[in-house]
Structures are given as structure tokens and as C-alpha cells.
């Protein structure tokens, strides 16, 4: 059984602290080269390797990450 | 309303009034000469009858903040203390005023400065009516002159506190706090139910129901434009109090050529001095401010047009006299007579001062 996850990041509320980047066990996240309206390099998923563990969301101080998961 | 006659100390009358006025909580710290307030409450155990909470805090700083908490949650809460303790409460008082929380604080004044004496004084007038804490604010200040008024003003205090969402101070003194007098007490007023609190204090932080936004009790505003607007609102409230809530009493003023202006214990001494004066043919009367803020400015102004002079009698080095002078606007001589440091003036001294400072003038 495979697990497929997906994160939805509210990039306008993200402050680009990068805590989620280190928290992700599968190195899915990275800080974007672009900035949001506040000037922060927001976090984004860069590879399709999310398992929906929500570790990123757990450590996010601003609660900007929503996590989905399906068992295939 | 059924009336019951009791013999009580002024401090005990405060406690009795608290229980009978539907007070929800008293938070205090012992200090002479007002310790009987909490002592009486602890003996009466109102938590077993009306459900009123009584708690001895670790300091006056803590008790005034307990009042802030209870008041912020919409409850009728109060504290009492004496001068040094009230100084410690100034932080809490300015927060109560800033956050517009109805609350009742009793100051049974003793002589100062510093630890001072434990005897009666009226030297906390400035602190009470000019705002002892920081920022532009006013408390509604009631000055009882009898044990009965100690009792009655607790009820009056709740009325004003909730009408204006403002802290109210009963500015008493060690004499009124300690003296025993007869006192009529009335029926018990029930404490508000939670539904009533929600109705009468819809702003209170008491738990957010699903159908309204969360309430926030605070005195903080980082935007100075909004803070100024808040200040305007507070000032409008204080002006309305000046318009509508001034209380005073006049005695023997109809034919008076001279006026004593005195509140609390001093007013009672002045009354005796009037009697002595009138025996000597001096036509003197008394204007007794009952509210110190708002001060009976109009009454002082009117008397200043009619009389030959006024003597402010206070147990202080001269505080209220400044307000009397401001209201009299130099239309007649205004002088001050006071004893302080815990000394109570005699009626003879008061009359003598009138003769020396005003009549011979």
C-alpha cells in the first residue's frame, strides 16, 4: 500500500522561516526563490514525495500549511 | 424595603453592604485602619449564602488585579485598602480605567507620606481625584461622612461603575472606618445570574458563545490615532459625570456669609464649628462635596458670588482647596485649614481658623 500526500501552503501568510523545510522527513519542501507580498521567500513543495505526515504543519508557527493524504 | 437597625464600624458597614448589594467578589490585603472589611467578610462567610467570593491576596498589587480579572469577566468585584496599599494599586487602577472596567475600590485613608501613620487623614485627595496612576483618567470618587454612607455608597458605587463602565473609589478615612454608629441596612440584592451578566455587561470576557465575536478586555492600543479616539471617549464620559452625577450637601447656607467646604470626617467637625460660630453670631454654613470627582464646581462658584469668604477644611496640607479656588475664581477669599499626619482638628480650631484667616483676613 502506498501513501500519497499533498501540502497546500498559504504562501501569502508564510514568513519563510524554513522550520518546515528541516522538519520534512522526505525533503519535499524548500524556500522559494520568489517572494510573497510581504517580501518573504515562502515555503513550497519542490518534489512529489509527500507522505502526508504533517510534520511541516506541526512545526509551522503561523499555521499556513494544510495537509492531505490518501492511501492508494 | 425592610430596614434593619445595626451598630457597626464603618469598615464593617462596607463589608455588610458588599454582601447585601449583590457583590460577586472581594479581593483584599490587610492594612490598618481598614482590616475589618475583610475580617467581617471572613466571619460572615458570604460564599455560603450569596455565593460571593472572598479572597485574601498576597499583596494590594495582586488584589487590584484580581479586581481587574473579575470586572473584566463582568462581575461586581471590589477591594479595599488604606493609603500605602492604594499607592500599590495605582497600576491596576489606571488599567481598570483604561479598559473601562466597572469596579469598586475603598480607600480608608491614613496619614502619609510613606508608611506614615495609622490615624485618619485626607491626604490622598490628589491621588484619588487627579488620577494617581499614569495617563488621562478619572475615577468617580465618593466621600462618605458617616457609617450609613459607607454602606449606602457601596450601592451607589455599583450603579455608577456599571452605568459608566468606570472604576469608583470610596474615599473614606480612618475615623469613618473605625467609628461605630447606628446603621440601617436593607434587603439582600441578589447577585446577577450569568444571563444577567451577559445582558448588562455584553462586553465582558466570560466565555465566547458561538453567536458573537470574542471579547477582548485591554487598555493597549498601538495606533495613536485610535488611542486618542479612545481618550476622547473617556473624556466625554468624565464630562457626562460632571454634568449629571455631582453630589453635595449644604447645611446652614441659606443666610451664610461664610462657607466651610469640607468632606468626610472634616465635614462633621465643620458642622460642630458652625454651631460654635453661630452661637457667637457668625453666619457660617457648610458645603459638603459628596462626590470629589466630579467636584461640585457650580455650587462653589455660586457661593463665591454671595459669601464673604470660604474656608476649605481638610485633614491634609491643602489639596481640595485647589479645586475650591479654581471654582471660586477669585470672587471671594478662599483659605485652607488643615491638620495632618493623623491629627483630627477640633471644632474650636476650625472656627478659630475661619476667624483668623477669613473674617479678620
Amino acid at each position: 500500500m502506498a501513501i500519497k500526500g499533498e501540502v497546500v501552503i498559504d504562501k501569502e501568510r508564510c514568513k519563510g522561516c524554513g522550520v518546515c523545510v528541516v522538519a520534512c522527513p522526505n525533503k519535499v519542501l524548500a524556500l522559494a526563490k520568489n517572494v510573497n507580498g510581504k517580501g518573504y521567500n515562502y515555503s513550497e513543495a519542490i518534489i512529489d514525495n509527500c507522505i502526508g505526515c504533517a510534520s511541516c504543519a506541526m512545526v509551522c508557527p503561523d499555521g499556513v500549511i494544510t495537509v492531505y493524504k490518501v492511501k492508494l | 424595603m425592610a430596614k434593619e437597625l445595626k451598630l457597626m464600624k464603618g469598615n464593617e458597614a462596607i463589608a455588610e453592604a458588599a454582601i447585601r448589594s449583590g457583590c460577586d467578589g472581594y479581593f483584599g490585603y490587610p492594612i490598618t485602619p481598614q482590616s475589618e472589611v475583610m475580617e467581617h467578610l471572613m466571619v460572615e462567610k458570604p460564599w455560603e449564602t450569596t455565593g460571593m467570593v472572598v479572597l485574601q491576596a498576597e499583596s494590594e498589587t495582586s488584589s487590584i488585579n484580581m479586581v481587574y480579572g473579575g470586572a473584566g469577566a463582568g462581575k461586581k468585584v471590589m477591594t479595599s485598602s488604606s493609603s500605602p496599599g492604594i499607592s500599590l494599586m495605582q497600576e491596576g487602577l489606571t488599567y481598570l480605567a483604561g479598559a473601562e472596567l466597572p469596579s469598586l475600590v475603598v480607600n480608608v485613608v491614613r496619614g502619609g507620606p510613606g508608611l506614615g501613620t495609622i490615624q485618619p487623614s485626607q491626604a490622598d485627595y490628589f491621588q484619588a481625584v487627579k488620577g494617581g496612576g499614569h495617563g488621562d483618567y478619572q475615577m468617580y470618587v465618593l466621600a462618605p461622612a458617616s457609617v450609613q454612607e459607607m454602606y449606602d455608597f457601596v450601592f451607589k458605587g455599583w450603579e455608577i461603575a456599571f452605568k459608566y463602565r468606570n472604576p469608583v473609589m470610596i474615599l473614606s478615612d480612618g475615623a469613618i472606618g473605625q467609628v461605630m454608629e447606628k446603621l440601617y441596612v436593607g434587603d439582600y440584592v441578589p447577585r446577577w445570574t450569568e444571563e444577567e451578566v451577559r445582558k448588562f455587561a455584553p462586553w465582558a470576557s466570560m466565555g465566547k458563545p458561538a453567536d458573537r465575536d470574542h471579547n477582548i478586555i485591554t487598555s493597549l492600543e498601538l495606533d495613536s490615532a485610535k488611542q486618542e479616539k479612545h481618550n476622547h471617549k473617556l473624556q466625554a464620559k468624565y464630562r457626562e459625570m460632571e454634568e449629571k452625577e455631582v453630589l453635595f450637601e449644604t447645611i446652614n447656607c441659606e443666610d451664610a456669609e461664610y462657607i466651610f467646604v469640607a468632606y468626610g470626617s472634616s465635614a462633621r467637625i465643620a458642622q460642630k464649628a458652625i454651631q460654635l460660630g453661630r452661637e457667637k453670631g457668625i453666619k457660617v454654613g457648610l458645603l459638603r462635596p459628596i462626590t470629589l470627582f466630579p467636584f461640585p464646581k457650580k455650587q462653589v462658584a455660586e457661593f463665591s458670588k454671595k459669601v464673604k469668604g470660604m474656608l476649605a477644611v481638610e485633614m491634609s496640607a491643602g489639596q481640595m482647596v485647589e479645586d475650591v479656588r479654581l471654582a471660586a475664581e477669585f470672587r471671594c477669599p478662599v483659605e485652607h485649614f488643615g491638620r495632618y499626619g493623623g491629627i483630627i482638628p477640633t471644632p474650636h480650631e476650625v472656627l478659630e481658623a475661619l476667624e483668623e484667616k477669613i473674617i479678620k483676613g
Binding site: 500519497k4 500526500g5 499533498e6 497546500v8 514568513k15 522561516c17 524554513g18 522550520v19 523545510v21 528541516v22 522538519a23 518573504y40 513543495a45 512529489d48 509527500c50 502526508g52 505526515c53 504533517a54 510534520s55 504543519a57 506541526m58 512545526v59 509551522c60 508557527p61 503561523d62 499555521g63 499556513v64 500549511i65 494544510t66 495537509v67 492531505y68 | 460577586d24 467578589g25 467570593v53 479572597l55 491576596a57 498576597e58 498589587t61 495582586s62 488585579n65 484580581m66 481587574y68 480579572g69 473579575g70 473584566g72 469577566a73 497600576e91 491596576g92 470576557s205 466570560m206 466565555g207 465566547k208 458563545p209 470574542h214 471579547n215 477582548i216 478586555i217 485591554t218 487598555s219 493597549l220
Partner: protein
């Protein structure tokens, strides 16, 4: 986005709780305040006590906490939150009054209020954020600042001679008979956040069962005050703060943990 087809309510694993308001928190990027706010709000949601929760916010970085918790709130004078919470909880015994305080608020100016509320065993929850610095006023020394740590008011590093010792107030409070649950946690990793959330849940459950004071310290970062990136700050915290402030339960069910 790689798998838009799985974005469906039935596949939801985690979303921001509605017990937080929509306001964007003013905290610096990576600050542990936000995470701690979030998990407190999640516990309130999970316990279904939003209508009975009352937050008492401090003075310090979290002075505006009342803007973020979607519960009835009060802003306290500096350090006085435990006194305020005492009165509210005594007047409304079925409520969930909690204070949220930093190290300056709780362990310096409010020491008396903290100790006496805990000593009376007030049925309140105290959440204590310890980041060893005064963040809001610009990074001055706190009672919990470590020896050698540089701050705006200990620019050459805190010394015992000048400033005394870092205050382990949590251990001190655990000595008081009024405290029922005393724990020290952190929020720098997902595992730590889960444990802290469990501790906060425990604290509110204790309050529900009227057990007395529950005290949850959260050792946190202050990357601005420490002058590090958020990730560096978390690492520094683990290596330095945890030595003086070790993570774990200190008192459980009224008994000190051996």
C-alpha cells in the same frame, strides 16, 4: 502542487484550527510563540471548550495574544496574569482560564503573582514561554538568560557576579503543594510539538477535573533576540537552553518525578 486530485475534505490530515482568528500573527518568522498558540487553540478545539475558555495575555512579545486566540480574553498588566486568572476562575469555576506568559512577565515582574497563584493551587493553566530574553523591548536580559549569553543589557555576556543565576522557576514552582502538574516542553520539532500539545491537553484536563494549578513551560527560541536564523536558533536552543532547562515532566499528578 503535484496531486491536486487528493485535495478533498475526506483526505484532510491537518488544517489550521478555527480557535485561532484569521489575524496574521506579528511574531518574527520561526518564533515558537506562534506554534504554541496554535497547539493551545487545537487543544481547546479538540476538547470542545471554546465557549468556556478565557485567555489572560501578558505584557511582552505575546501582549497581543488576545488578537489570535478566538476566545474571550483579557490583557493583563505586566506580570499580573495569574492574579487576574485567579479571580476569573474563582468567579466562574466551570471555565477554562489560562494565562500565557513569557519569562520576563512570569519569572521577573510577576514572580509574586505566579508563586502565590501556584501556592494557592488555583485551578488555572499557566503556559510559560521561556526564551531567555526580553524579545519585545529589543532583546534585554531575562531572569532565565543563560550565563555567558549576550543580550542588550548584558552585552558582554551574563555573569553571576553582576546578574546572579538563571532562574529555574519551573523547578521552584514544582516544590509548591498547590501545583498538580509541572512540565517543561519545547516546540522545535514535530515530535516535540506533539508532546507539548499532549502536555497542554493534560493541563486542561486537570483543570476540568479541578486538580489545581497546571504549569507548562515551553522552552522556545528567539531568533531575532539571539541574532540567528530560525533553524540555527532551534539548534542553539537544543544545545544550550536544554542543558539548563531540561525537557520533561517535573511533577505529575501532584507527585514530583524522580
Amino acid at each position: 502542487m503535484f496531486n491536486p486530485d487528493i485535495i478533498k475534505p475526506e483526505n484532510l490530515v491537518y488544517k489550521r484550527t478555527d480557535v485561532l482568528t484569521q489575524a496574521v500573527m506579528h511574531y518574527c518568522p520561526g518564533c515558537g510563540h506562534g506554534t504554541t498558540h496554535r497547539i493551545i487553540a487545537e487543544v481547546i478545539e479538540e476538547m470542545g471548550i471554546q465557549d468556556k475558555a478565557i485567555c489572560v495575555a501578558p505584557v511582552g512579545c505575546s501582549v497581543l495574544a488576545y488578537n489570535y486566540f478566538n476566545v474571550d480574553s483579557l490583557g493583563a498588566a505586566h506580570g499580573r496574569a495569574p492574579a487576574i486568572a485567579t479571580a476569573i476562575q474563582r468567579l466562574y469555576p466551570d471555565r477554562y482560564t489560562f494565562t500565557y506568559q513569557g519569562d520576563g512577565d512570569l519569572a521577573a515582574i510577576g514572580t509574586a503573582e505566579t508563586i502565590h497563584a501556584c501556592n494557592r493551587g488555583e485551578n488555572i493553566v499557566i503556559v510559560f514561554i521561556n526564551n531567555g530574553i526580553y524579545g519585545m523591548t529589543g532583546g534585554q536580559m531575562a531572569p532565565t538568560t543563560l550565563i555567558g549569553m549576550k543580550t542588550a543589557t548584558s552585552p558582554y555576556g551574563r555573569t553571576v557576579e553582576l546578574n546572579g543565576y538563571p532562574l529555574q522557576i519551573t523547578e521552584l514552582l514544582a516544590e509548591l503543594p498547590g501545583t498538580y502538574y509541572v512540565t517543561r516542553q519545547s516546540v522545535q520539532t514535530a515530535a516535540a510539538v506533539r508532546k507539548t500539545k499532549k502536555a497542554i491537553r493534560q493541563a486542561f484536563e486537570n483543570q476540568k477535573n479541578k486538580k489545581g494549578t497546571s504549569f507548562v513551560e515551553v522552552v522556545s527560541n528567539c531568533n531575532s533576540g539571539w541574532k540567528m536564523t530560525p533553524v540555527q536558533a532551534n539548534k542553539w536552543m537544543e544545545e544550550n537552553m536544554f542543558v539548563k532547562y531540561p525537557i520533561g515532566d517535573i511533577k505529575v499528578d501532584g507527585q514530583k518525578v524522580k
